[in-house]
């Protein structure tokens, strides 16, 4: 009796192990009809290029898995597009480039691991990334130590201006502006006198939280409730109840990735809150509108302004659509990631592989055009000079611009 029992368990066990092995190594397409996640794209594999000695390694770092992957993967594809185009046109000085992509999971610790690997194992002297501020700040010391040029297409924490170091640059404006614009919009356009803030406990979200709070209070507003939640929180019922009870005019939400953002909005709407909801740029994507149309209806948010009628932008967007057969989920970040590769190419062509020289050339760069952007100006901290921000609103699942605000320092 004992032996037979055992044999059955062994058989079941082996079947389960084989089944699990199959599941683990043969990922089915993770489509979910009830899930608000976008279809899990695979990041673009580099176009087949001979890995020879005369290959220039360009690193890429960002979230390729996890909740922020819906932002990271499209951005990686945009960089890969630029790399493929450059290689097809003969590469840089005759040498082909290879994009080595690392998954830094939108986390500071993973960012520093990814950065270390790109520098030590892949010997990359140029990196596009991170996507999130936390991972960028995590990898920054390694890039600075090794004189590796890093350009981020989307990291927006104000800390990067000061703590990023000499070798970290970005083509997306600091939240010192975004937070001020959001506060200005709340006070002037929405005539809000009281606000509540809910922000995730990450570098990016806390940076934006501080800026919004400072600006809102400086203009005479009152923050009645200020909640910080840890990454991984999925239930916001208590916070929603608190906000409802406080009866604030405006609620400013700063998630690090779309899923908690959507969950927060859903909790707020579940409690039938009358306050207006303003979001950071993390929710400002047509993809999110498509999957959560009823939940995000009416929410507004700020995101750096991108003129998508500009010829270089439309050229990039058409090329992207032609190659990947999908709409751009994050046009401004993707345009930045595409441009960053071209910026690196231009710098190598003008200065060779001397990263010290390139660092000097990029600092206070003026009037550079290329990739999908025109008139790129970087300041002494490596930040892009920017002043225009869009305020957009979800209407019937689509993002519509309801105004462009100029940031006045």
């Amino acid at each position: 009796m004992c032996m037979k029992n055992n044999a059955i368990w062994w058989v079941i066990g082996i079947i389960i192990v084989i089944g699990l092995g199959y599941l683990v190594f043969n990922q089915p397409n993770k489509q979910g009809t009830t899930s608000p996640q976008p279809v899990a794209n695979e990041p673009a594999a580099p176009a087949p290029a001979p890995v020879a000695d005369n290959t220039i390694m360009i690193g890429w770092m960002g979230p390729l898995t996890g909740d922020a992957a819906s932002i990271g993967v499209p951005i990686q594809k945009a960089s890969q597009l630029a790399v493929d185009e450059i290689n097809a046109a003969g590469g840089i000085g005759g040498k082909q480039i290879k994009l080595v992509s690392e998954d830094s999971k939108c986390d500071g610790k993973e960012g520093s691991t990814a950065g270390q690997k790109l520098v030590s194992v892949n010997h990359a002297k140029f990196v596009v990334g991170g996507v999130c501020s936390g991972e960028t700040l995590g990898a920054a010391p390694i890039f600075n130590e090794n004189k590796v040029i890093d350009i981020s297409p989307s990291a927006s924490s104000p800390d990067i201006s000061t703590k990023g170091g000499a070798y970290v640059f970005r083509t997306y404006p600091s939240d010192a502006m975004a937070g001020a614009v959001a506060a200005g919009y709340a006070m002037q356009s929405l005539k809000a006198k009281t606000a509540a803030i809910i922000s995730e406990n990450t570098d990016y979200a806390q940076g934006l939280h501080k800026v919004f709070k400072a600006n809102f209070e400086a203009a005479g507003g009152k923050i009645l409730v200020d909640e910080v939640y840890d990454t991984g929180t999925t239930n916001f019922r208590t916070q929603a109840l608190k906000f409802k009870n406080a009866k604030v005019d405006v609620i400013y939400i700063v998630p690090q990735s779309p899923p908690p953002g959507v969950a927060i909005v859903k909790s707020l709407k579940d409690q039938k809150i009358a306050s207006k909801i303003i979001s950071s740029e993390v929710l400002m994507s047509d993809d999110i509108g498509k999957q959560n149309a009823s939940t995000v209806e009416g929410i507004t948010g700020t995101i750096a302004y991108m003129d998508d009628k500009d010829p270089v932008a439309t050229k990039f967007m058409s090329a992207y659509k032609a190659k990947y057969h999908e709409e751009l989920a994050w046009p401004i970040f993707q345009a930045g990631a595409y441009t960053d590769v071209y910026l690196i190419k231009d710098m190598i062509e003008k200065n060779g592989m001397d990263t010290e020289k390139i660092q000097a050339a990029l600092t206070n760069l003026t009037g550079w055009s290329g990739g999908a952007m025109n008139n790129v100006n970087l300041d002494e901290n490596g930040d892009i000079k920017w002043s225009d921000f869009s305020v957009k609103q979800f209407k019937a699942g689509k993002l519509e611009s309801i105004g462009v605000f100029k940031f006045k320092p």
């Binding site: 898995t65 996890g66 909640e227 239930n235 608190k242």
Partner: protein, 307 residues
């Protein structure tokens, strides 16, 4: 006098406006964890094994539900049965292949089983991560509509939790009290040796405890997944929460598990309301710690007999 009464009434209504939503905030996770902690307690009292991997059973049931419903598009009733079955099989398999084997070699000590159960916990969490990925899985459709009862807004799923969980707990209690198997389980929990003498197979009762406990965990897991969404890292979080609620109420007592869960959620809700969400874990652990200082066996726990 009349004015006094009236103002008191107004004050009461105002408090109700705030108190009822807070109460719903307490009941929803409190009742869920009562079922999870209660089944954990049952397993411990019958088998004397600290089956921490019970938390993994809960979340695995949730992922099984996700797989059946969202990936394979099975009808709802089939997905529910499937998830519960997966939970039961998982619990029973862990028992027969790991804990029972350890018993045979005489290494069922507290340290031994702790190592085993934590290892299983981590293995399951990483398996879930490898199979399903680290992105959050939602069940927005199943959360249902929002229903407003005065000042309280609850979704359909939250109503489900508040109705099903007490029913599950009542069924469990009645089962243990009235049925033959229930009495046998209690006998083994009380004194294994004497139960054997009376002719009750403690081995079979242990398997039964795991089966029943895991079934309840599975059902709670489905409701949990719909309400809180699924992320692999929840396995450890749910286990820690389950464990602390159980020891607060007194391990080995199902009533204790209920009280432990509700009390912890009350502390959580009040901290979140009057203070800040960030402090909630701190205060609930502090509270548990303080209670254990005064009453080490937990609120409803019995004084430990030496094993």
């Amino acid at each position: 006098m009349r004015w006094c009464f009236f103002s008191l009434l107004v004050r009461l209504v105002k408090i109700m406006d705030v108190a009822l939503p807070i109460l719903s905030n307490i009941l929803i996770p409190g009742l869920l964890f009562a079922v999870i902690a209660g089944s954990f307690s049952l397993i411990y009292s019958v088998t004397r094994v600290l089956h921490l991997a019970h938390g993994a059973t809960v979340i695995t049931a949730g992922y099984a539900f996700y797989a059946a419903l969202t990936l394979w598009h099975w009808p709802l009733w089939l997905a529910v049965i499937f998830s519960t079955a997966v939970a039961a099989l998982l619990g029973m398999a862990i028992n027969s292949q790991i804990y029972e084997r350890m018993r045979k070699t005489g290494s069922v000590s507290i340290a031994g089983t702790l190592i085993a159960t934590i290892s299983i916990l981590l293995i399951i969490e990483n398996l879930l991560l490898a199979i399903f990925g680290s992105d959050t899985k939602f069940f927005s459709d199943l959360q249902g509509q929002v229903n407003t009862f005065g000042s309280v807004n609850v979704t359909d799923n939250e109503i489900r939790i508040m109705i099903f969980c007490p029913i599950l707990l009542i069924i469990l209690t009645l089962f243990l009290a009235k049925t033959r198997i229930g009495k046998a389980l209690r006998a083994v929990a009380d004194n294994e040796m004497v139960a054997e003498v009376v002719g009750i197979s403690s081995r079979r009762m242990r398997m039964m405890a795991f089966a029943i406990g895991s079934v309840f965990a599975g059902m709670a897991g489905i409701l949990f997944a719909i309400e809180y969404s699924l992320v692999p890292s929840m396995v450890i979080m749910a286990t820690i929460m389950m464990f602390f609620r159980t020891i607060l109420g007194g391990i080995g007592s199902i009533g204790g598990a209920v009280i432990g869960s509700l009390l912890t959620e009350t502390v959580t809700a009040l901290t979140g309301w009057y203070w800040n969400i960030g402090w909630v874990q701190l205060t609930s652990f502090l509270f548990t710690f303080l209670v254990l200082l005064i009453r080490p066996q937990g609120l409803l726990g019995k004084k430990k007999r030496s094993l």
